[in-house]
Amino acid sequence: MMSLAAPAYLWGALLAAVAVTALHLLARRERRAEPLPTARFVPDRVATSVVRPDRLKDVALLALRLLALTLIGLAASRPTWTARASGTARIVIVDRGAGAWGPTVDVVQQLSQGVATSLVLVDSSARMTTVEQLSVREDSLAPAVAGSMSAAFVLAVREAQVLTRRFTRVELHVVSPMLTAELDAATLSIRRLWPDSVIIHDVPARPNESVMAGMETILSIDDPVGAAARLTQPIRADGRASIRIRRGAPTSDDIRWVGDAARILLVWPDSATTMRGIDTLDAVTSSTATVTGYFRRSGAAPIGRPIMWWSDGAVAAGEAVTGQGCVRSVAFSPSPRGDAAISFGVRRIMERLLAPCGATVLGEKAPANARGVLAAPGPPGRATPVPAPDGPRFLPAVLLLAAGLALLAEQWVRRPNATPAVRA
């Protein structure tokens, strides 16, 4: 089935064809002169008297001109060839990065039964896949990551343009815990490209990988770091803790302790050097949270891979692998004044610092109202996704080439008929 992106050009070409036909019919041509050696004896009158043809002449010439005009108009109207559509198809956005793998696969398999299904797999990137590939993939071992729903929606809309060529209805399903970290400022705008409603299948998020086997602190009782840490991890005094928090330089015992098992040594700056004169607001950001407060920067730079940054881009915390565990050095301390140490932001920062080595913190689920906005139908009057062309993309070029050939043939047909006569 051919569809035209700019049919006005075709209509214009047809109007021009009508005009050409009218000119062809109205053309009054001078008669062809026949040789007569004694023509000088014919009375000299106006030799340009013209007559109207009593029947249509040069039919081939007219046909070639009309054909060329029509082909040019058709090529300018950007035609596309699409197949006849029928049935229903589904596009399923599979949140592999944040969703629990088992429930996610179950939902996807239910959705794909008996219906043509295209899968958009989301983790650190968004890509197309199939149900068969999804079943055999060992995705449960993949690290958790908060993907981008914006990228998934873009891919889904693009896939819908392809599917609408063959299906009359295309549904969009999202199988995801729909975390806040997966949404961004562009998500809602991109989702509006989808004119219909989005069906969200809520699945549980990946288990909280930041749960460790307790912690032990080498801190003073009034240290705000200890207070913030205790809101995240329980204190374990039986010597089997997997997290150790201390201030100042780590000892050889700390290094040996952290290297023996999958443990974390969290090293904070010495309070005596950092707690004085905190009078400037600053901001510390991680992959999941940003907190502002009265922080004093430490003179020593954190070691290892950066995991937190100051607002100006300087490294605020780093992670260095040591044996089976890791040492995380922090270059700031929360203010001891007020309840800043137990604020929501500092707790999020602490969750990141106490997460297992190399792990990612997924964050929380998106608010219910945000999920509702995403699931609701798009604004009224929005067009359905334009079917993408599945015919040859070079169809306009082929039409233009055919028009050129028609014009060449027109020259070839016209040449034998060329006479000195001119059209009136």
Binding site: L36, T38, P43
Partner: protein, 284 residues
């Protein structure tokens, strides 16, 4: 045109005579009456001997019988060199295809040349063309007519070459035959013939006219002169009547002018049988 094409024509004109309209001035004996009186076997008259006469012409037997000297006079006959001047302009190629004026002129030329050649007259040819002048000097030897036919085969009428200039190259030919439609330099040609006529030479003008010129069909209604494309005229029923009258008047004027100048003038229509036309031409 081929030699075989002229075969029936040459057979039909065999035996015809084309006497000179004026007494010939040639020295060589031929078939035409000469202006000279000589000692040929054909007795004409006796004349009393006058001082200065050739003693060899004395009739000695009559002198012995009558004791009076008489000269035996006889009619002299001599040849007449004939040259044909053919118009090969584009207007002669009408109507297009067979049966045009050029073919009719060639047939007349070949037939009349064959008659003249059979009488022992030297026959030559002059055809001014756009690419140069085709010339065949007058000769009497065998194969002259065939050579003339081959020369004509090389010519295709085109252009608008004047004929008058070619008259300067006719040499001593006693008889000049101009075969043309006279649509070119007719006046100049006629003026160029005046010295020839004054020199007691014989000039024949043969006006070749096509039937389509006498009664042109309306056709597309527009006609053009092939030699002058700028001349384009609408040919309608009423303009054709005027054309026919004008053309007839012009032909009459041309014939009258040529005859007034002392030349023989005849018109030949392309539809006329060449043999019939040749018989008419050589007997007038």
């Amino acid at each position: 045109m081929t030699l075989a094409r002229y075969g029936p024509l040459l057979d039909a004109v065999r035996g015809l005579q084309w006497p000179s309209r004026r007494r010939a001035t040639g020295m060589l004996p031929g078939a035409h009456e000469s202006r000279r009186r000589g000692a040929s076997p054909e007795l004409s008259e006796y004349r009393a001997y006058r001082q200065g006469d050739d003693p060899r012409q004395l009739d000695w037997k009559l002198l012995a019988r009558t004791d009076r000297a008489f000269i035996r006079l006889a009619e002299e006959r001599s040849i007449v060199g004939t040259i044909f001047l053919l118009d090969a302009s584009a207007s002669m190629d009408f109507p297009r295809g067979g049966g045009n004026k050029w073919e009719a002129a060639c047939a007349l030329c070949v037939g009349m040349a064959a008659i003249a050649h059979a009488s022992g007259d030297p026959v030559g040819l002059l055809v001014p063309t756009a690419s140069g002048q085709l010339s065949l000097a007058p000769r009497t030897r065998r194969g002259t007519v065939q050579a003339l036919i081959r020369a004509l085969e090389q010519v295709h009428p085109s252009g608008a070459t004047p004929l008058a200039e070619s008259l300067a190259r006719i040499g001593q030919a006693q008889r000049v035959v101009v075969l043309s439609d006279f649509l070119g330099d007719e006046a100049a040609l006629r003026r160029a013939c005046q010295p020839l006529l004054a020199g007691r030479r014989e000039v024949h003008g043969v006006h070749v006219v096509a039937d389509a010129e006498l009664a042109p069909s309306l056709g597309s209604g527009l006609v053009e002169d092939p030699e002058s494309p700028a001349v384009r005229r609408p040919l309608t029923a009423e303009s054709r009547a005027a054309y026919v009258a004008t053309f007839a008047a012009w032909r009459h004027d041309v014939a009258h002018a040529w005859r007034q100048s002392g030349a023989a003038f005849s018109s030949v229509i392309t539809s006329e049988e060449p043999v019939r036309a040749i018989r008419r031409l050589v007997t007038t």
